[in-house]
């Protein structure tokens, strides 16, 4: 007996017309006046997230201050059949928080209270609007910190981190968001409270904690989060190594892992990327190197000394022309400042840039870099490469000018070519930024119709009405047929399993 497909599996977010005035009136009755924004000027702030190329104006934006108000918003939206897009700090890079034109943009920014830090149990319970970095700052007096550190950690919110399963430069050793969250309190579209995970290390039944993490706002709205805190390492030191070719740097990465080392961070930048950031933050990067690696060791002073020695030996044996070990904390932070400024540096070089996020097996790094170099010629656009090399997570930054329609189209094609290559090399189209609206077409490449149907079944298990972040993350059957039509490979029609509309 096959499952009936939920309606939203076949077609994307087409909703009956929402009666805007009645919806706004109900929201105004339930929330403080300054929590409801519906004037054109005020709504402009919410048009897009960090992926600025995709913009939509919602009917209305709401900024509730309490869980009860969030609950009220959900119930009102359900009554009106209005789609809801939840938003944290709006730093996401895949358009996951792009509003729906017929719906409500639900900003969680005002739920920003650190509820409790339990120093002995090493946990922090916070509201979703709390900034990632603020958790570590609040935990620091107890000698503790929150490990996942996306580059946007000064601004991004923990709620958004959970929704996207955010990573960072230290997740090779310390894991992604999913490895560092213990408990969630979430509201279903019906306004029902779900307590997911627990204060313990596991919970009975299915692992909904893992399912909700990275679910991109499609399943529930998170109102409280308990994260695991770790003791701050006594010491961290970073090696900066220069290479004459990106392939050699890629090989050195595999060699470090093969030697049984798990560095706290293992990052690769190519020459165009180092040149761009050096100009911007003066991190002291060598400009003559074709690629650099940043390799960090943390732990006790003894283990750091031992590990740095082993790391240096492997790097030199695999073609490093120069190794520089950070002498003190300020130098270490300067090494990282360059890496963390890669995106803004790209923004200084070019009116627009497009950041990709595929992950490939580490051993394919060299091959992938060669392919990207060839694509720069094919599409006539420049690309800076910064990689979380230890995880095989690539962030090629394609530079273009969105005002030039031809460049925009070439950038889009360049990006899709990279993602298709990623899948072909045995990888995935998104390592940490999420699918959102940006990569929704390429999802058709990575998942079969059966797999996507199951995703829709999971969504329907939480949101039978398809109101939470519609038309994001999981492409409808219709969309994949359309996407396939745009990308015909060698005269062969892709996805012959799909009905054509």
């Amino acid at each position: 007996m096959p499952n009936a497909l939920p309606w939203f599996a076949e077609h994307d977010g087409q909703f009956n017309e929402v009666r805007a005035e009645a919806l706004i009136a109900d929201l105004l009755a339930a929330l403080p006046p300054d929590s409801v924004v519906h004037d054109r000027e005020g709504l402009r702030t919410f048009e897009c997230d960090g992926l600025t190329a995709f913009r939509t104006t919602p009917l209305v934006a709401v900024l509730p201050e309490t869980e009860a108000q969030v609950q009220a918003v959900l119930r009102i939206c359900l009554a009106h059949g209005a789609p809801i897009v939840a938003r944290g700090a709006g730093t996401g890079l895949s358009g996951g928080a792009m509003p729906h034109a017929q719906g409500v943009l639900l900003s969680m920014a005002r739920l920003k209270r650190i509820v409790h830090i339990d120093a002995l149990a090493r946990t922090a319970t916070v509201q979703p609007g709390v900034r990632n970095k603020a958790i570590s700052e609040a935990a620091a007096p107890f000698g503790l910190y929150y490990a996942p550190d996306p580059s946007s950690q000064v601004a991004c919110s923990i709620g958004g981190n959970v929704a996207e399963n955010a990573g960072g430069v230290h997740c090779l050793k310390y894991g992604l968001t999913v490895h560092n969250v213990l408990r969630l309190r979430a509201l279903t579209i019906d306004g029902e409270i779900l307590d997911i995970g627990s204060e313990a290390l596991d919970a009975p039944g299915y692992d909904l904690l893992a399912l909700l993490t990275g679910s991109e706002g499609l399943l529930a709205v998170i109102t409280e989060i308990t994260v695991r805190l770790l003791p701050i390492p006594q010491l961290a030191r970073c090696v900066m190594a220069s290479f004459d070719s990106v392939e050699q740097a890629g090989e050195a990465v595999a060699a470090i892992i093969a030697a049984g080392l798990i560095p706290a961070g293992l990052e690769l930048m190519d020459q165009p990327a180092t040149a761009a950031v050096e100009d911007f933050v003066h991190a002291g990067y060598p400009l003559d190197a074709a690629a650099i690696l940043l390799v960090e060791a943390d732990g006790t002073p003894e283990s750091v000394a031992e590990e740095i020695g082993r790391i240096e030996a492997v790097l030199r044996a695999h073609g490093a022309t120069r190794c520089q070990v950070s002498r003190d904390e300020s130098e270490r932070l300067r090494f990282w400042a360059g890496r963390k400024a890669a995106f803004p540096a790209a923004g200084r070089l070019s009116p627009d840039y497009y950041c990709m996020d595929g992950t490939i097996p580490r051993k394919r790094l060299g091959r992938m870099l060669q392919d990207i170099a060839a694509m720069e010629h094919t599409y006539g656009l420049r690309c800076l490469n910064v990689f979380h090399a230890g995880d095989g997570n690539l962030h090629p930054l394609i530079l273009f000018d969105a005002n030039d329609a031809d460049q925009l189209a070439r950038a889009d094609a360049f990006g899709i070519a990279i993602l298709e290559r990623t899948v072909a090399l045995g990888g995935t189209i998104s390592g940490e930024h999420g699918v959102g609206i940006e990569k929704i077409g390429v999802m058709c490449e990575q998942f079969s119709v059966g797999e996507r149907t199951l995703f829709f079944g999971l969504k329907a298990a939480f949101d039978a009405y398809g109101l939470l972040n519609p038309a994001k993350a999981i492409p409808s059957l219709h969309r994949c047929a359309e996407f396939g039509r745009m990308h015909v490979h060698g005269g062969q029609l892709p996805h012959p399993d799909l009905p054509r509309f």
């Binding site: 002995l120 990573g167 299915y206 093969a258 097996p361």
Partner: protein, 353 residues
């Protein structure tokens, strides 16, 4: 015949699906003791075995579900690697059963659980479709995290065919310290220890004796030993201790009937006068008690966690901690999405799933 028997397994599921016949999915049968019910025609995954791919420098092994856990561990050990969650075997365990049961060993509190290391799965769903989720790479946020959802689902959502698991290098040095710590202060002691940046890889406390295992660079282990104090256990005695704790051959388990597993907030007070064994820096507690299931569950719940009737459960009570009605409703719908005919391991964990 052993090796790749995917087609035969798919066919068996198709027939069961058409006839709406329940299937009891079984690898090595080593966790049969832990079940609410074992019902249905046997679907034997133990012949679907073999390591499909293992590249040490990629930190990932892909193997068929019926591959013996011991075979996986031996392959990893040859390259100085390990399953960092140290899964208990409890008999002739398979990789599929290890992931389906989601049980982790002594290193869990510091290294992570089974679910933290599952990177990808290939499954047969309840409509006999072969589906793949996740992959072999460390970071992957495309699509819902079905791989981790399969972990600890006890085969109620699908038949796992193949799994990709993250591996880690084994620590170059390890040492186990023995300290006398009374029951009154052990919880505080363990949590204070956990808050310090030390290379702790396991803790076990029973009847006034605390064992702390350190794993890492040789210099770091030596420094931590000086800082923590206590006596070092000989290497073979230490290996045997952790093996006994993991496999429940230690007297904390063999002397107890029934044996309850309490998974709780690590800082929860130890109820006075109870004979509990503590692991996972205080977060996992083993309790041999004749208190009623309701009483044991109340203790676990008050401590922020849940209780499983691990061995010798009284008949007629739920082995796994009951779910709230809101949670059960969601989980039932998830089950429905994977297995609409309800053929996979019905009632294995809850009557409703």
């Amino acid at each position: 015949m052993t090796g790749d028997i995917e087609d035969a397994l798919v066919e068996q599921v198709r027939v069961a699906c058409d006839g709406r016949t329940p299937l009891r999915i079984r690898g090595g049968g080593s966790k049969d003791f832990l079940a609410q019910s074992l019902a249905g025609d046997m679907l034997d995954t133990s012949k679907h075995r073999g390591i499909v791919a293992y590249e040490p420098s990629e930190l990932v092994i892909t193997a068929r579900a019926g591959t013996p856990l011991a075979e996986i561990e031996a392959a990893l050990a040859e390259h100085g690697q390990m399953l960092a969650f140290e899964p208990p075997h409890f008999g002739p365990a398979t990789l599929g059963g290890c992931v389906a049961s989601g049980l982790s060993g002594p290193a869990r509190a510091t290294s992570g659980a089974v679910r933290d290391f599952v990177l990808g799965v290939k499954i047969i769903d309840g409509q006999a479709r072969v589906l793949r989720f996740g992959g072999t790479v460390m970071k992957n946020v495309a699509g819902f995290d079905v791989s981790r959802l399969m972990t600890g689902a006890w085969g109620t959502l699908g038949v796992m065919l193949e799994l990709s698991i993250k591996t880690l290098p084994a620590a170059p040095a390890t040492e186990t310290l023995v300290l006398d710590v009374p029951a009154a202060s052990v919880v505080h002691w363990m949590n204070r220890l956990a808050g310090r940046p030390l290379p702790i890889s396991a803790t076990f406390w029973h009847r006034g004796v605390l064992h702390v295992r350190l794993s890492g660079a040789a210099t770091a282990v030596a420094a931590a030993r000086r800082e923590i104090g206590g006596d070092a256990l000989a290497a073979d005695a230490a290996a045997s201790l952790w093996q006994q704790v993991r496999e429940q051959k230690h007297r904390f388990a063999t002397d107890a009937a029934p044996l309850w597993r309490l998974s709780v907030r690590s800082t929860a007070d130890l109820p006075q006068g109870t004979d509990m064994a503590l692991e996972w820096l205080g977060a996992q507690r083993w309790w041999g008690t004749s208190l009623s299931p309701d009483q044991v569950r109340a203790v676990a719940q008050a401590a922020g966690g849940h209780a499983t009737a691990f061995r010798g459960a009284p008949r007629g009570y739920s082995v796994f901690h009951p779910l709230t009605s809101a949670m059960l409703a969601v989980q039932r719908r998830i089950k429905q999405a994977f297995d609409p005919a309800g053929i996979f391991n019905p009632g294995r964990i809850y009557a409703e799933l």
